[in-house]
């Protein structure tokens, strides 16, 4: 919804969400700092700062990366997704404090520029045990930085959703960089199985969540539609679709959402123009198909966002015959009016 990004402010949900983020971050830092001072009192301020912010950022990163698959497994996690970008920006801010202090602490006041020093001090790029782990952290930080500055919807529209989404998929590359940064860095000094275990548990949980979510979606994608009649395929019985809701069908690798609205069925492309949210998992609200991710809306009969918004998705033809729903998987141009099928 092109003009919406300037209009949406800090509503109640966002305030609650941000309140929890702040409470958790402050508790983490307070606990980390006080326990370190209490039980390991020779610690220096710089090291406490570097370590508390970095480990908090890694915790946040795991939370951020869990939200996607969790919402796909259970829609009721959706409220966590709505404001996820604030989590991302927070995570970036803590990694930036860590990274910048790291550069100051380990590279400043020397005979070389600190940024050059980051890459040219330790030059064992060919060795795994001696690898310059700080460079890995640097590239992860750059990715988080690019994601943080483009997190506003302004950039989503200016970069186009596909470029934006691709950029944001780099978070997985950044995650791997961070894991290697820690495994080839501080863990080789600490040599404490607890740290290895923590990181392993974190990565394993993320992998399992993503696999489970992926398996669930594959089930939809693998559905076979055999019965064909002049271009239409039989997809389901009409009463399987609840009112104001949709079912998603994947035909020829395109996901299509078939919505039931006011005794008619309408079919539109399942992919939201905002960030690719699954429109078929949304609901009709005020006569509009409403995306479950951030609430972009589309009219069922033409796939267009109601004015003043300009988003459009493809539409499809549906037929109902003796309670059987038939769908033609050939898309009409985005925003093309289709009258729907009377029940």
């Amino acid at each position: 919804m092109s003009t919406a990004y300037s209009a949406v402010g800090w509503n109640r949900q966002k305030k609650i969400y941000d309140g929890w983020i702040a409470a958790f971050c402050i508790s983490y830092l307070a606990l980390f700092i006080s326990l370190t001072l209490l039980f390991n009192s020779e610690a220096t301020f710089e090291t406490i700062l570097i370590r508390s912010t970095s480990t908090l950022a890694v915790l946040l990163l795991h939370i951020i990366l869990s939200i996607g698959p969790l919402t796909r497994l259970n829609k009721k996690f959706m409220p966590l997704l709505y404001n996820r970008r604030h989590l991302g920006v927070t995570m970036f801010s803590f990694s930036a404090v860590h990274g910048i202090f790291g550069i100051i602490q380990f590279h400043s006041l020397s005979n070389t520029n600190p940024l050059l020093s980051l890459f040219l001090s330790n030059t064992n790029y060919g060795s795994i045990p001696a690898f310059p782990f700080q460079a890995l952290g640097f590239f992860a930080l750059i990715i988080f930085f690019l994601m943080a500055i483009t997190s506003h919807d302004f950039w989503l529209h200016n970069l186009s959703p596909i470029v934006w989404k691709t950029l944001h998929m780099f978070v997985y590359a950044a995650y791997i960089l961070v894991v290697m940064h820690v495994m080839l860095g501080v863990i080789q000094y600490e040599k404490n199985p607890v740290f290895v275990l923590i990181l392993f548990t974190g990565s394993a949980s993320l992998i399992i969540l993503h696999l489970l979510a992926g398996l669930k979606e594959r089930k939809i994608d693998k559905m076979k539609f055999k019965l064909q009649e002049d271009g239409f395929v039989y997809v389901c019985e009409a009463d399987e679709i609840e009112d104001s809701r949709a079912k998603i069908f994947c035909i020829d690798q395109e996901r299509i959402a078939v919505y039931r609205h006011e005794q008619k069925l309408y079919a539109i492309h399942n992919v939201c123009k905002h960030q690719g949210g699954p429109l078929g998992e949304g609901k009709i609200v005020d006569g509009c198909i409403t995306c479950p991710w951030h609430g972009y809306q589309y009219l069922p009969h033409n796939g267009q966002s109601p004015p003043p918004f300009k988003e459009r998705v493809s539409t499809y033809d549906v037929r109902v015959n003796h309670n059987k729903v038939w769908l033609n998987p050939i898309a009409f141009a985005e925003g093309t009016e289709r009258e729907g099928a009377l029940l």
Binding site: F39, E42, A43, S110, N111, Q134, E190, V194
Partner: protein, 280 residues
């Protein structure tokens, strides 16, 4: 799922079913926050009680020695004043002291070697060793006394050839400025310090006693900062002629044999950087 339950972020409140799920998520995150902050902070290796008297200047009087490393030999009150400690000098930030000493010598047009001088600097100390940081902004040279008798010349003793496994350290950080001041996480910093002229120290762990510290020179007695730079913070093996020089042992490293890395990748246990002290 109840058909009427649908959530979009801009709704004023989430439906009940959603609110419950989110509450569960909040509790899980709260437990994670508490568990992780406690576990990670408590499991860190103990930091050493090394000291860098940051912001605090101390006046130190002693004999300046150019060899084996720029240092000041300070006599203490113990044993009728015959006890002393040799404190290597380091510069500001990641720099050695040679530049400052040279400019002080040029300024006064006098060589400081073997002269009794009073320096003002910042003390760094740990595990029986002390260093002094001098910074030209502090105007560190307070006085120079007359040349002293040769009784202050360092006492040396040949200890034979040794073959050791240990770690090349940047002593400024290790003995006080940073914690941890050695090992992989500190490696880049140590490389910068050694590239900046701080005299490297070799650190050897022993099985049943505290670590040993050695000064490093090449076989001809010259600085070898460039030679060791790429091996800093890794467990390495070296062969050297060991010579006791006052209260430090100097290793004249066989640079033709070179340094051999002995450590591999290890995440779980201290392994190779150990414990090897075999005089041949």
């Amino acid at each position: 799922m109840n058909n009427n339950e649908f959530y979009i972020g801009w709704m004023p409140a989430a439906p009940k079913g959603y609110a419950k799920q989110v509450t569960i998520a909040i509790v899980v995150v709260a437990v994670l926050v508490l568990a992780l902050a406690s576990l990670v902070s408590m499991q860190q290796k103990k930091f050493s009680n090394s000291v860098f008297e940051y912001g605090q200047l101390t006046e130190v009087t002693g004999i300046y020695q150019q060899f084996p490393v720029p240092s000041i030999k300070v006599y203490t009150q113990q044993n009728n004043g015959s006890s002393f400690i040799t404190m290597p000098l380091v510069g500001y930030g990641k720099h050695g002291a040679e530049g400052i000493i040279r400019s002080l010598e040029e300024e006064r047009a006098v060589s400081l070697d073997q002269k009794q001088i009073t320096l003002k600097g910042t003390l760094i100390y740990y595990d029986g060793k002390s260093l002094l940081q001098i910074d030209k902004h502090d105007k560190p040279l307070l006085s120079i006394a007359a040349t002293l008798s040769s009784s202050h010349q360092p006492k040396t003793k040949e200890l034979g050839t040794v073959d050791l496994i240990g770690e090349v350290l940047d002593p400024k950080c290790y003995f006080g400025v940073m914690k941890p001041g050695r090992g992989k996480p500190h490696r880049d910093c140590a490389i910068r310090c050694i590239a900046g002229g701080i005299s490297p120290v070799f650190y050897v762990r022993q099985q049943n006693a505290g670590p040993l510290y050695y000064l490093l020179l090449d076989e001809k007695g010259n600085k070898l900062n460039d030679f060791v730079k790429n091996y800093v913070a890794d467990p390495v093996r070296l062969t050297a002629r060991a010579v006791q020089v006052d209260d430090w042992i100097v290793l004249y490293v066989d640079t033709k044999k070179g340094l051999q890395r002995t450590g591999g990748l290890s995440w779980f246990k201290e392994n190779d950087e150990l414990i090897y002290c075999k005089p041949e």
